[in-house]
């Protein structure tokens, strides 16, 4: 199992190295500390949300609303901050709010036995709309004298957000592998009937997974607020697809039961690397899109071929 899961990570990792290598070959600046730091920092928002999405996808679900959730939670965070709340409370409040949004998704999905694809397609619009209703569509700006959030996504050296992401990846790798909850997530995603038969609380597990996904979306939203100093209800539009792509490139199966948090991180890094590399190599924006799309497809094809051989 251990060896196998390392092999599963090899595919995306090689893809990452190859892509990085090509860009670095054309522009050695890719190898500078500054660029590497940029890539890491720019991965944080997708990376943290992708951890939650990995859990959701392993459990056999999907969450299309995560982009809207990040926007809505960001709005909430910014509003709490402008109210003068202390940072720890803001963190707590926003994460709790995110968890609540995730709980709504999980609750409707399991309670009414609906497909998560369509439920979160609905809540995607609802959360997005809610963010705009609350703010009347304009971003909530942080007061200029608030500096507590800056070091999370910027400043000298490695921002705290990067450490946070790394810590979360390690934590959730351990949770998935070494806790009962983690094994239940795999069991539910692999075969829900078997899980039920073996006395696993399937509904509880699923709701919990969506709730964690929401909480991590809340954290991701906080990083976004820290980065842009505002809670913007229109941010992160379409980000759900980036996040899902990262998770899938990282080796997760959309039919559930398979996936790793570390893989998702590698997937997210791959996406950032493409974007940064294209900019540094002066590739025009539309081409970046074509290239990103092509690399997503190629990455999963490579993964597929590797599986076939093994």
């Amino acid at each position: 199992m251990r060896l196998k899961s390392i092999l599963t990570l090899l595919g995306p990792f090689i893809a990452l190295l190859v892509v990085f290598g090509i860009f670095a070959g054309n522009n050695p600046r890719m190898l500078s500390e500054e660029v590497l730091l940029n890539i890491l920092t720019q991965t944080v928002i997708v990376g943290i949300a992708a951890i939650g999405m990995t859990l959701i996808i392993i459990s056999g679900g999907i969450d299309l609303s995560v982009g809207s959730m990040i926007a809505l939670c960001g709005v909430v965070a910014a509003m709490l901050i402008t109210k003068g709340m202390a940072p720890p409370l803001v963190f707590l409040g926003t994460i709790a709010f995110g968890a609540f949004c995730g709980f709504v998704n999980g609750g409707i999905t399991t309670g009414m036995k609906l497909l998560p694809f369509i439920v979160t397609l609905g809540t995607m619009q609802a959360f997005r709309g809610a963010g705009k209703v609350v703010t009347h569509g304009t971003p909530v700006n942080l007061p200029f004298d608030v500096t507590a959030y800056k070091p999370w996504m910027g400043g000298a050296g490695i921002p705290i957000g990067v450490w946070l992401m790394v810590a979360l990846v390690i934590a959730f790798t351990l949770v998935l592998r070494y806790t009962r909850f983690g094994r239940h997530v795999f069991a539910v995603g692999s075969n829900e009937n078997t899980a039920t038969l073996c006395g696993v609380h399937v509904a509880k597990t699923k709701i919990f997974v969506y709730t964690i996904g929401g909480a991590l979306a809340g954290l991701s939203a906080l990083m976004n607020v820290a980065k842009s100093s505002q809670g913007d209800p229109t941010t992160a539009m379409g980000l759900e697809l980036d996040i899902i792509a990262a998770v899938v490139i990282g080796g997760a199966s959309l039919s559930g039961g398979e996936g790793t948090v570390l893989g998702a991180l590698i997937g997210a890094l791959l996406m950032t690397t493409i974007r940064t590399g294209c900019v540094l190599n002066g590739i025009p924006t539309p081409w970046t899109e074509v290239i990103t799309g092509a690399i997503i497809v190629v990455a999963v094809i490579i993964d597929r071929l590797r599986h076939r051989k093994a």
Binding site: P139, S228, D232, R275
Partner: protein
């Protein structure tokens, strides 16, 4: 790595012809000054987070940055960070509290643009009637300023009443057209409309509104003042379907921004704000050589 001075121009998006003109202006300045200009926009338009990343990445390999910030606050920190090392010229939309660190602000006065539009619409209505505003998109600062300028100015005409300004056109022309069609249906009264004038605040929303009016055979029966330029608008102006459109001068904006950036690099003194002007085009002034030259820069 040619040893030339390098300037990165970062627009809000790359789709609109407007940004093409900015690019053309920037390139023109680059040719004159012998510098190298990179023109690159965020991959997802209107994505602030990506534009922040873009500024960061570009600052690594350019000597100066010209930026049209998607948001007045979101881009503030990154600009502040970058401007410590390299001059940053802000174009098109303002950046909050940026007097201290940006090299210069080169832009159309959007609020003034909105005022110009309001005056034009009021005039075409003879100072009385009902008007409606179809806004562009929530969170877009420049259009919101235009809309505010419009409201400010239109208040000065006591005979004019603004009904319905709660609808947003949406990001694309196609969405704008649907919204406009539905809005017109709601405002319908008999064969015509319950309003006599319409203001739209950017290119796609004006385009969508014009198409919707044409589709409902209302074009020409209501006064329309829009923003920005498009071949269709010129045609509509000539046919009397539009009464005016407020043009910015993106070519000039691109040109002046690069010039300002290079001047700053050379240590010359530059103005804190440079107004690139807003011009109203109307059916009657299209032939004016200055106007037609301006229009020419904004058509493909």
């Amino acid at each position: 790595g040619t040893g030339k001075t390098r300037v990165a121009v970062i627009p809000k998006g790359t789709t609109h012809i407007y940004w093409k003109s900015v690019e053309a202006g920037a390139k023109k300045a680059a040719d004159e000054l012998g510098v190298e200009v990179t023109f690159i926009g965020p991959q997802k338009e209107d994505d602030r987070s990506q534009q922040i990343d873009l500024v960061k990445n570009q600052s690594l390999q350019n000597d100066a940055i010209v930026l049209a910030p998607l948001d007045a606050v979101a881009l503030r920190d990154v600009v502040k960070e970058v401007s410590a090392k390299k001059p940053v010229v802000i174009i098109d939309s303002s950046l909050a509290d940026s007097e201290g660190f940006i090299a210069s602000y080169v832009a159309t006065d959007n609020r003034e643009g909105g005022r110009i539009a309001a005056r034009a619409l009021s005039e075409s209505l003879g100072g009385k009637g009902k008007v409606t505003v179809m806004r562009y998109m929530q969170g877009s600062a420049s259009t919101e300023q235009r809309e505010e300028g419009f409201f400010e100015e239109i208040k000065k005409s006591p005979g004019i009443e603004v009904v319905s300004s709660e609808q947003y056109a949406g990001a694309t022309a196609s969405q704008a057209q649907d919204t406009a069609t539905n809005l017109l249906t709601r405002l319908a009264e008999g064969d015509g409309l319950s309003v006599q004038g319409i203001f739209t605040s950017n290119q796609t929303s004006t385009y969508g509104m014009l198409q919707a009016l044409r589709g409902k055979n209302l074009a020409g029966k209501v006064k329309l003042v829009g923003f920005d330029c498009d071949a269709t608008f010129i045609d509509a102006l000539k046919k009397g379907e539009m009464q005016g459109s407020v043009l910015q001068d993106p070519l000039n904006m691109g040109y002046l921004s690069v010039k300002t950036a290079v001047a700053k690099l050379k240590g010359e003194k530059v103005e804190a704000t440079v107004d690139t002007g807003a011009t109203l085009i109307t059916p009657t002034n299209l032939e004016d050589p200055k106007i037609s030259a301006l229009i020419k820069t904004q058509l493909p």
